[in-house]
Amino acid sequence: MDLILQLLANGVSNGSQYALLGIGFGLIFGTTGIVHFAYGPVLAASAYVMWWLAASLGLPFPVALVLGVAFAGIAGVVAYLVLYEPLLARGSPSFVVLVASLGLFILVSNMMAVLFGTDAKTLSDISYGIYVLGDVVITGVQLVQIAVFVIIAVGLAIFLRTSAWGNAIRAVTDNVAMARIIGIDTRKVAIVVFALGSMISAIGAANILVRDGASTHIGFFAVFYAFISVVVGGVGSVWGAAIGGLLLGLVESAGMWKLPTEWQSTIAFMVLFVVMLWRPTGLLRGN
C-alpha cells in the first residue's frame, strides 16, 4: 500500500509536469494547427537563460524566472513571425511547416550546445526540501510541480472562458474560417497563443532547471511528452492536454514499479497507441 501511494504521488507529480507542458504545446497546436516542435528548444533556451541570469549574473531566482518566461514568450512569437507565418502565407502544405519546425528544433538545439556546452547547468543553491507525508516521501520540487500545474491550468481556463482574447482563441480553435468571418484578427490570435504557450513552457523549464538542471536534451523530452499528452487528451482541448499528461505520469509511474527506467519512453508510446486505437480523437474528443 505504501508503495502504491508513493507511486501515485510520483505519478501525479510527473504527470503535472507533462500536463503543464501539454497545455502550452496544445494551446499552440490546437489553435494554429502548427506542430511546433521548436517548443522544445524554446523551453531549453529559457532554462539556460534562467540559469545564466541566476548563476552567472547573480539575480534572485524569481527575477530570473520572470525574465526567462518573458524570453520564451518573445522567442515563441519570433518563431511564428519569422518561420511559420511566411510559410503559411505562401500556402505551404502542413508537412513543409512540420519539417521547418523540426529544422528549427535542430538549429536551436545545436546553437545552445555550442553556446553553453552539453553538460547540465544546475542551480546548486536552490532547494525546496523533502517532506514526509505519512509513508510517502515527496520533494519540494514535486509539490511545486503539482501546484504550478493547478495554478496555470485553472488560470488559463478562466482566461479562455471569460476574456475577449480567450473567446477569440476558442473561436479560432473551433473554426478558423468562421472566426475570420466574424471579425477576429486570426494573426493576432496566433501571436498571442505562441507567446502564451511558450511562456507556459518556460514555467515547465524552471521546474526542470531546479530538479535536474538545464541541458540541450531537455527540449526533446519536453516536446515529446507534451505532444503525447495533447494527442492522448484530444487536440484543441486544454483540459484534454491536462488529463493526457496526468494519465501519462500515472501510467508511467505504475510501469516503473516493475520495469527499469529505460522503459519510460516506451510506456509513453504504449499509452499513446492504446488511446489512439480506443479513441482516435483523444480522451476528450478533440479536433
Partner: protein
C-alpha cells in the same frame, strides 16, 4: 428627386483561383433595404463573387464600393466593422461552443457588453429556439437550428448588409421555408439589405425584390422576380 445611392456597388469585378477566372467583369448595384436573390448553377461563380466582395478572396480586377467607399480586397474584419455580415455555406457555427457563446462571439467587434446582451435578446426574439437551446453545444443541434444560429451570429453585428450563401443547403423542405421566413423577418426588423445566393428557387423567389442570374461568371439576367415565375422563362437563363 435624386435616386437613392446603392449600398453596394460592384464594378467590372473579376475574381478566381490561380489563373482561372470564375467571375468575369461583373457589374452589380444593390439598393438599401433590398433583397437581391442570386441564382445560377454550380460553378457559375456565385460563391466566388461573395468571397471577393467580402474580402475572403482578392479580386483580380474591378472595384467593390460600399456606401460609396472603395472596399476592394479589404480584410473581412474591416468589412465586419463597417456593418457587412457574411453567412457562408454549410452550418457556419462554432460547433464545440454553446449557442450563447456563439452569439457572444458574433458580437466580437462590439465592445459594449450591454449592447451585446441587447442584441442577443433581439436575435433570440427573432429565433426563439436559440433561447431554448442557449446552453446546448451548437454542434449537437439539428441542421435547421444550426442555420438559424449561423444567421443569428451574423445578426449580432447588427449588419446593414447581410450576405447569405445558400442558407437552405441540406435542409428539409419545411426548414427551408423557416429559413426564408427568417430572412424576411431580418429585413423587417433590422432594415438590413440582403444578398442571398440560393439553389432552392421555388422557396427563395417569393422573398426576393430582384433576381440576378449568373452563368460562367457573368450576369445573364438581372430584374424583377415576376418575370421568372414562368418556368419556361427561368429555364432559358439557367
Amino acid at each position: 428627386m435624386s435616386a437613392i445611392p446603392p449600398i453596394l456597388e460592384i464594378q467590372k469585378l473579376s475574381a478566381g483561383y490561380d489563373r482561372r477566372r470564375v467571375v468575369q467583369e461583373l457589374d452589380l448595384a444593390i439598393a438599401p433595404g433590398e433583397i437581391l436573390l442570386l441564382l445560377g448553377h454550380n460553378g457559375a461563380g456565385k460563391t466566388t463573387l461573395l468571397s471577393a466582395l467580402f474580402g475572403l478572396l482578392a479580386p483580380s480586377a474591378g472595384r467593390v464600393l460600399y456606401d460609396g467607399r472603395d472596399i476592394t480586397a479589404r480584410a473581412p474584419r474591416n468589412n465586419v466593422k463597417n456593418g457587412i455580415a457574411f453567412v457562408p455555406q454549410g452550418h457556419a457555427v462554432f460547433r464545440r461552443l454553446t449557442v450563447h457563446e456563439n452569439l457572444v462571439l458574433g458580437g466580437f467587434t462590439v465592445t459594449d457588453k450591454s449592447e451585446i446582451a441587447r442584441r442577443i435578446g433581439q436575435v433570440e426574439d427573432l429565433f426563439p429556439i436559440l433561447r431554448e437551446r442557449r446552453s446546448q453545444l451548437a454542434g449537437t443541434m439539428s441542421g435547421g437550428q444550426q442555420q438559424m444560429l449561423a444567421i443569428g451570429i451574423a445578426l449580432m453585428l447588427s449588419p446593414r448588409l447581410l450576405i447569405l450563401d445558400e442558407p437552405s443547403i441540406g435542409l428539409a423542405p419545411n426548414l427551408v421555408s423557416a429559413v426564408m421566413d427568417s430572412v424576411q423577418r431580418v429585413r423587417a426588423s433590422l432594415g438590413a439589405t440582403i444578398l442571398i445566393v440560393e439553389q432552392n428557387i421555388e422557396k427563395s423567389l417569393p422573398i426576393a425584390d430582384r433576381v440576378m442570374i449568373m452563368r460562367t461568371g457573368r450576369t445573364v439576367y438581372c430584374g424583377p422576380p415576376d418575370a421568372l415565375t414562368d418556368r419556361t422563362v427561368l429555364v432559358q437563363y439557367l
